[in-house]
Symmetry: C2
Subunit: 492 residues, 2 copies
């Protein structure tokens, strides 16, 4: 596909001078329109080394208000980024509503570099393409506009430019062996790039190939393509033809019903449970050391009815873990800042480092529970969420080599009432119960339905739900601990 492009295209000085000025002005106007409409914008600049990515970036930002964009120069990942799934660092760099994120190189260069050097990635190129497409689709579904450029030059042109850089003492030190190596493999990399570009060229995140031999031609084409793409987006918004309205509706994941019960069936005394807990302590600590040593991360999700005992359960279970190896992430309503981004970002942010546990006290499932029931998001949004959640969980597992287990703490409606009353009457615990809790209780049946659908649609092999019978708190703790042990053992 890339081979068919005519790399001799040029622009003369007069055409350039005439056409560039109005384009620059239009881009400035567009930036303000995107800001006013709270549209997050992602511009990706990719291309061969020396094809002019930095130059083009520099040209684009000259027309932008520096207060409204962030430029991300993507290089090798830092320690912190390396310890997380591949897409993590890009999720963290997604723009907030109304801002522009410019990527000088991106997830594409990284995928290619890691493929080329055969490092880091535990996934095939095909899986990688799948992750990228999910990522871009999810952002686009949330209202983002994405424009991607590939700056294309021939191997001969690249050689001329590399030699030029080498002669200049200001730039020669920047030419690493890796860059020359990549140059020598131009022919080998061409079909890989071709495949990458072709399979990620979507309606919502299209590729624009730029014949980048001539500097003025490159700048003009980047500018005109960018301006046209953004104007189309703004026009669509104005006509009410929200991109959202044109979305293909994601198929809902199939339902695999999950049975729930609140009581374990047979009785256990607190003492029995305590004994079992203690006997697992050593086992858990050993597993902790081994996961840490082998750099395997693990996510534990707690969801459940109000007063089902999540807090107490987390405290007791965490007691058996190496305190330096886990993090508890309490999730409450999104704040002002969270709401400026895709709803998944604030959870992805807390993905565990390699070798660590992340314990989510409530989670991204809020989207299909409280946000669904209380109408904090649209029906289309929560319906889309089942598939989105399955995708990011799958991606986390595939990329990190880690595990995830999700607990649903089930109690009966009667048990909840009993606990609410206890809390209300105990001065030490009364802070735990609020008006909201009573209000949610009145909606038990509606929540019940949401829980059923959530469990059925997101109970996947790579990220299973485990129902914890929690009328008996001690039993609940034992079962959670046993389940964690079973699931982490499988990773070793």
């Amino acid at each position: 596909m890339l081979e068919k492009y005519d790399l001799t295209k040029m622009t003369d000085d007069r055409t350039f001078a005439k056409e560039i000025a109005p384009l620059k002005e239009r881009l400035g106007v567009l930036q303000r329109a995107l800001r006013d409409k709270k549209i997050p914008t992602i511009i990706v600049l990719e291309g061969w080394n020396t094809s002019g990515i930095t130059m083009s970036t520099n040209e684009i930002i000259q027309s932008l208000d520096p207060r409204g964009f962030t430029l991300h120069a993507i290089e090798s990942p830092t320690d912190e980024e390396r310890a997380r799934p591949f897409m993590w660092r890009f999720w963290m760099r997604t723009p907030s509503k109304g801002r522009i994120a410019l990527f000088a190189r991106s997830w594409y260069s990284r995928a290619l570099a890691e493929k080329h050097h055969n490092i880091g990635i535990k996934k095939t190129l095909k899986d990688q393409i799948n992750s990228i497409n999910n990522f871009e689709r999810q952002l686009s579904d949330d209202g983002a506009v994405i424009v991607k450029f590939f700056l294309h030059i021939s191997k001969e042109e690249q050689k001329i430019r590399l030699l030029e850089k080498e002669r200049n003492p200001l730039t020669s030190w920047l030419l690493t062996r890796g860059i020359w190596d990549f140059h020598h493999h131009y022919a080998t990399n061409l079909p890989i790039i071709d495949e990458l570009v072709e399979k990620t060229d979507t309606d919502h995140a299209p590729w624009k190939i730029i014949e980048a031999t001539d500097r003025k031609y490159t700048i003009l084409k980047v500018y005109s393509t960018l301006v046209k793409s953004l104007e189309r987006k703004i026009a669509a918004e104005k006509e009410g033809l929200l991109i959202k309205g044109k979305q293909k509706i994601l198929p809902l994941p199939p339902k695999k019903p999950v049975k729930r019960r609140s009581s374990p069936g047979s009785e256990y005394t607190n003492e029995e449970c305590q004994n079992v807990l203690n006997s697992h302590q050593i086992e858990m600590l050993e597993l902790n050391y081994l996961l840490f040593k082998r750099k395997i991360p693990f996510i534990i999700v707690y969801e459940g009815w109000d007063a089902a005992g999540k807090g107490g359960n987390i405290t007791r279970v965490a007691r058996f873990m190496n305190p330096l190896g886990y993090n508890v992430i309490p999730i409450s309503a999104p704040n002002e800042n969270d709401r400026q981004y895709h709803y998944l970002r604030r959870f992805i942010k807390h993905y565990p480092k390699a070798g660590h546990f992340a314990i989510f006290d409530r989670s991204w499932y809020g989207r299909v529970l409280v946000e669904r029931v209380e109408g904090f998001c649209t029906e289309r949004e929560w319906q889309r969420a089942y598939q989105e959640i399955n995708e990011i969980e799958q991606d986390y597992v595939d990329c990190s080599g880690g595990g995830i287990v999700k607990f649903w703490l089930e109690i009966s409606k009667e048990e909840q009432l009993k606990r609410f009353r206890q809390r209300a009457n105990d001065p030490q615990k009364t802070w735990k119960i609020t008006e909201d809790d009573w209000r949610n209780r009145e909606k038990w049946e509606i929540y019940n339905e949401a829980v059923d659908e959530m469990l059925a649609r997101t109970n996947t092999e790579h990220a299973p739900w485990v129902v914890i019978e929690s009328d008996n708190k001690w039993y609940s703790r034992v079962k959670v601990l046993k389940t964690i042990i079973r699931h982490t053992e499988q990773l070793l």
Copy 2:
């Protein structure tokens, strides 16, 4: 000092069983009280290797609601942290209001480790102590409670424990050569630790030395000391004896008046200025490469009257820089999340990476300008800010080896009126002018006084103010660029 402690102290089983339970309960109650009173709490656990830091941490967190604390296990800094001043990573880990941050090792261990291995630190131990004291005092002045433990064991005891760990296959791999090396230098490190502890033992952030030979004695003493310290803080708050009220008032930095004028005196045509700008372009780019290569960071602060031309100035000046090497940080009013922390944190967060520029479009000086004038902070708070700001700027320069220059863009009151009217009448620019701008203009004289005092008290040798005569926008841009070139050249 450490030598005088009696390391044979022990606690028997009965005393321990009797005393620990009520202490645990009190700590749980205290956590809720701290949360309700929105007090940020910092608990530091330091000590010799194997002295029981992990064990003590684990014990403390058993009494805490996991949703209200974060445990920070401080190890070697990551790439990202290493590229910033020494205290940066600890500023980023300060707790928000009402939360507890537990540090299993901290800035103290890092200061010592870097001293011991002779890496990273460009400062003497004395300077380091000074930075730490400033950091702790600033947090305490903002209402934080800080409790620091040093777990003390003898060299003999440490040897026994290290050998034990070495025999256990679960822990042996954790014993790096560094740990043994540190053990062999116990006697050399003792006086350094002594000095570090003694010189950072302050009223607002006191050290508690724990004789840590006996496990039960250690736990009990950590608990009782912690509970007592926190109860004292809560009691003080209750009686209205806010710690804030007891603060020693910081001396104001001396005033070194800075003259301001809005016009350069002689006239320059736009063309002349444009020519000068272009001739500096190459120079600036070369400096960029050199700073990047030598990993020297640089901070540029823009402050100035509304409509003084900050935005346009930044855009034009940035045009001459390598786009991959700088970041523009637009500062607006603090959001919900920012307000949960010390006011300086949100600025420190954006310190430049090594070799990069950070351009602040407005800055921490908001504290002594808009926040002072509009009453968004107390008088004591903005008065304290002059010294605080001088301290963090000094610390940044000392630790990073980088530079900082601060621009005040001065225009006359008449010129401002002219620009406001132009903006109001130009449909392309009318978005730039708001009611707030007119309101601020009415307070010109009050702002004028605040500007004078700001320039006079914070015009330091390491972080100078440069007044930019900005009635002529082109002249303003030339002077900024020239000043940046002059200041960055000095760093090479």
